[in-house]
Symmetry: C2
Subunit: 640 residues, 2 copies
Amino acid sequence: MSKQSKDGINRREVLGSGLTVATIAGTGGLATGGAGALTLAGVRPAHADEQSKINVPPGKLDQYYGFWSGGHSGELRILGLPSMRELMRIPVFNRCSATGWGRTNESLRILTEGLTPKTKEYLASIGMSTFHNGDLHHPRPSYADGRYDGRYVFVNDKANCRVGRVRLDVMKTDKIVEIPNAHAIHGLRLQRYPKTGYVFCNGEFRVPVHNDGRDLDDYKKWNSIFTALDGDTMQIAWQVKVSGNLDNNDADYKGKYVASTCYDAEEGITLAEMTAWDKDHVVVFNIKAIEQAIADGNYEEVNGVKIVDGTKASKLNVTRYIPIATSPHGCQAAPDGKYLVISGKLSPTVTIIEWDKLDELFAGKIKENDAIVGNLEVGLGPLHTTFDGRGNCYTALFIDSQVVKWNLDEALRAYKGEKVNPIKQKIDIHYQVGHVNSTLGETKDADGKWAVALCKFSKDRFLNVGPLKPENDQLIDISGEEMKLVHDGPTFAEPHDATIMPASLLKPIEIWKRDDPMFAYPREWAKKDGITLEDDNKVIRDGNKVRVYMTSSAPAFGIEHFKVKEGNEVTVFVTNVDDIVDLTHGFTLVGYGIAMEIGPQATSSVTFKAGKPGVVYYYCQWFCHALHMEMQGQMLVEKA
Amino acid sequence: MSKQSKDGINRREVLGSGLTVATIAGTGGLATGGAGALTLAGVRPAHADEQSKINVPPGKLDQYYGFWSGGHSGELRILGLPSMRELMRIPVFNRCSATGWGRTNESLRILTEGLTPKTKEYLASIGMSTFHNGDLHHPRPSYADGRYDGRYVFVNDKANCRVGRVRLDVMKTDKIVEIPNAHAIHGLRLQRYPKTGYVFCNGEFRVPVHNDGRDLDDYKKWNSIFTALDGDTMQIAWQVKVSGNLDNNDADYKGKYVASTCYDAEEGITLAEMTAWDKDHVVVFNIKAIEQAIADGNYEEVNGVKIVDGTKASKLNVTRYIPIATSPHGCQAAPDGKYLVISGKLSPTVTIIEWDKLDELFAGKIKENDAIVGNLEVGLGPLHTTFDGRGNCYTALFIDSQVVKWNLDEALRAYKGEKVNPIKQKIDIHYQVGHVNSTLGETKDADGKWAVALCKFSKDRFLNVGPLKPENDQLIDISGEEMKLVHDGPTFAEPHDATIMPASLLKPIEIWKRDDPMFAYPREWAKKDGITLEDDNKVIRDGNKVRVYMTSSAPAFGIEHFKVKEGNEVTVFVTNVDDIVDLTHGFTLVGYGIAMEIGPQATSSVTFKAGKPGVVYYYCQWFCHALHMEMQGQMLVEKA
């Protein structure tokens, strides 16, 4: 059934632990040649009845919300399943031309207030106030007792070391914090019990903990930093300094442990060094022990954050390092609450750790290896695993370009020596799959209906769009005995990871509440200026500063013209007084690089310097009315 | 059949020419209340066999490329039809976190070199070099003799007065120019014969032609500017000063005329003024006459551009103003080459103009009204019209939320007094439709297979995603006698307009050619520094400037570490030497707000200031290899 057995070749041989870069380049097996060898003919075509399951015809709604990573596009996306249609883009770390995210005062406050002093200083030195890009990998909805509670989705930014939070009541980003001391936040998972709680953030790369120019050439002194962020306050609770680097992580269902994969136990900084050993590790964090270390004062404070020593040399008993075959990647807790599945990447195996064994490990009753209760060969390049709630696991095989379905209980029994074959099915997909995610697969409620395989390459799967290709999110029906590939979904860079929940779990509001914290900035100024945002259309002149308060109601702005002088610092506040669902207004100022969204009953504002004298129009860019084109006004700039 | 006849009410009554804002707000008919009144029950559900027509299962390709406006998202999108999947986003006027568009040296050259001196000066005064937003309305593929020739797609930016060009061989933006003198480029259409040729750009808003602070309060002296841009050189050929404002436009199939709708013949600047009269106009431009006026020296040169007087007062005979019922909007040339269809917006009519009559009009043989050969009542809020190549027209009705199919020949006959009913069918859609576009409908080859209705509102059509809703691109099967609605496609702001062509018309390359003009900047520097981009991995130190040249080949950068000093101006050039289809690399510098795409055989570069001393990683963000995570390096910043 597996590619390996069909071929009669165990490709593990070319991936031996003595792996070198030259070997990889030579075989082409690890590189993209592997995908090229897999033809379209390798895919079992979907039947008409399978196709019909994903049709969501006009007038019908999708059954699931999918929260999709936007990868280096920096945004979070909402998809509908099973149609796989993109329902909304939520700007987080990116700059958004349509909504003004990254340009409005409200968004800039969110984007700047959580930056570290060092970053603020650097950005100021180049005339910037924030970043305009991000690398958003892992969207994780908040939990209460192992179930999604519908409050937030947390996301990481690998590019600029940040964590963001999206409110699920309005589907907008409300907080972004930079994580000091850590470098490149990669793995991000949440505390499941009793609730979120902690947001666990992996600083992927090793740097000097005091990264101020010391130890530049002494890279053996560099460390990775693991961070627990308080998901309610978005303040950093504590950090742990570890040996090796940190890739992906996951938390248990009891609120006791978090585990993280490491692909560079060697602590190298070249590819050859990083892949030198045949073992890396999973580091396990004992949450209570770390909290106790903090309480006991066993920490170093760096840049305002308490860092506990969790390196191999530490005596604090806050971490354990479980050896794993070289360069593991995915780290996923099974919904049964008992097991953690590590995907091997360079090893063709998945390794199963039992959470409860960690009590004994930290108590010194067993050795690290004794926490491992399963180790199954699944195919080449296992990267991530998801679950169906019926005891089966689905592991993405990057090199084989397959998803393999295997049974967890049988894998445990096989590890004990029983003669069972836990492998149930392999399905070919296209190409270079990364994450695989199932409906509710990261919760107690895993329902085993659908899985998505997020593929990095898509060549020949879609119309040719030039050198840059889309990714390919493939939808797999996992509801029956057999997996069935039913849909190819092209997506812009990069659907790195996804979480999927039933539509019934969320009830977003459709019209903003006037007291929403998002409008704190306009409210502060309105109070100072004696303005009622919902009613007043007034221009306040305050020395060189001009504040223009206007309402918008289809198809007119409350102010049709206003005057300023060249060089004035102008702030325009627009309050959308329409309270009709879907009636968003916009404010675009021509030739000023300014456009912003103002949702129904929302206020948005933007500040800019008035330029050369002349007539400058503003207009509504969100279609609102038959007379939408006529929704315009003029800023008249006079000589200073 | 029509909503009107069902209701027994002609809603035209509430839309009389004496229209006021108060009336609109009161009835809710013109505003969004109209959509609210249309329930899901109003839509005829699609049958299973219609659904199956749009299924493009795994392993199959779409049949059409769709070039989709990204509206105020500033990007151009490529969709596949009939699946309606988004295949690629092409950044144009926006800033793109994933590709580095708006941050790399190559993109910044394109984004800055076409700006006017005035804009450059203003941007420099606020520490910027370009805009990071745009409002892209009308994507128009280039023509040869009325057919798409596959060279370019041209796009407008209403927000910042620009026109961009996308190369269809690589599907990337290669030129952006700001249009001086004009204000807010809206309508954009192309010369169809003999080829493109001219790009015709409507400056929507009226401003003083010398917009330098004069005539701020004397708005009767303001004018709109019509621009002809040379599509090959992207230089401005000429401009025409007109009376009234300019909305949408279109060109004929003989290369003689362009026409443009005007919704403010009143030359007002308030909503009440703009809608005061019961007539507006279509202005017609005589291309040869304008070229002759330029040749004869009958122009004023403003900001380096020759402007011909085409106002109503002009004696040059370069324009004609054809009266049309108040506030027309869409302006579409039928594929038969003979007729132009004007959609009435506030009038429930479409008006048909015969191109050949314009010869007689400019010759003074007929009056303006004589160029009109049809005037048909189609329903409330006609905005745009498209065609099936079989003599039928499809007009979007914004207020009725319908598409109406009508026969052009019968409309001409009805205008002559014959008793025919040109209206063939009305189909309910959801909600607030703007453009409607058919496959090849803007060319001689209109094939009448599919049409898309681009709807501005989507409430209740998709899962609720909070106050901001997606738009809704609805796919209609127009291949038979009866229109059939088959698909709802949610899209992020704003699918303003689209053009659709068969897949066979385009053959994009998959791997960059090393001599591509896109890499001119790196080549210039490499030549100065004696570097071979495809081979060398070198650091050049040049006073305070450091130039880092490196290759990338999965899974490694050619340089794994380099040193700079705090405050150095650093430029990193990365050349992707992999020549494998879909093997794009990335370069992200952690904590520097920098990420860029480097396609197979491409070179990209970015310049930045080195910040505080310390270790800074760079990594590849486009998944490229099983060891992708390991594709990383360090910039070591030393004390100055």
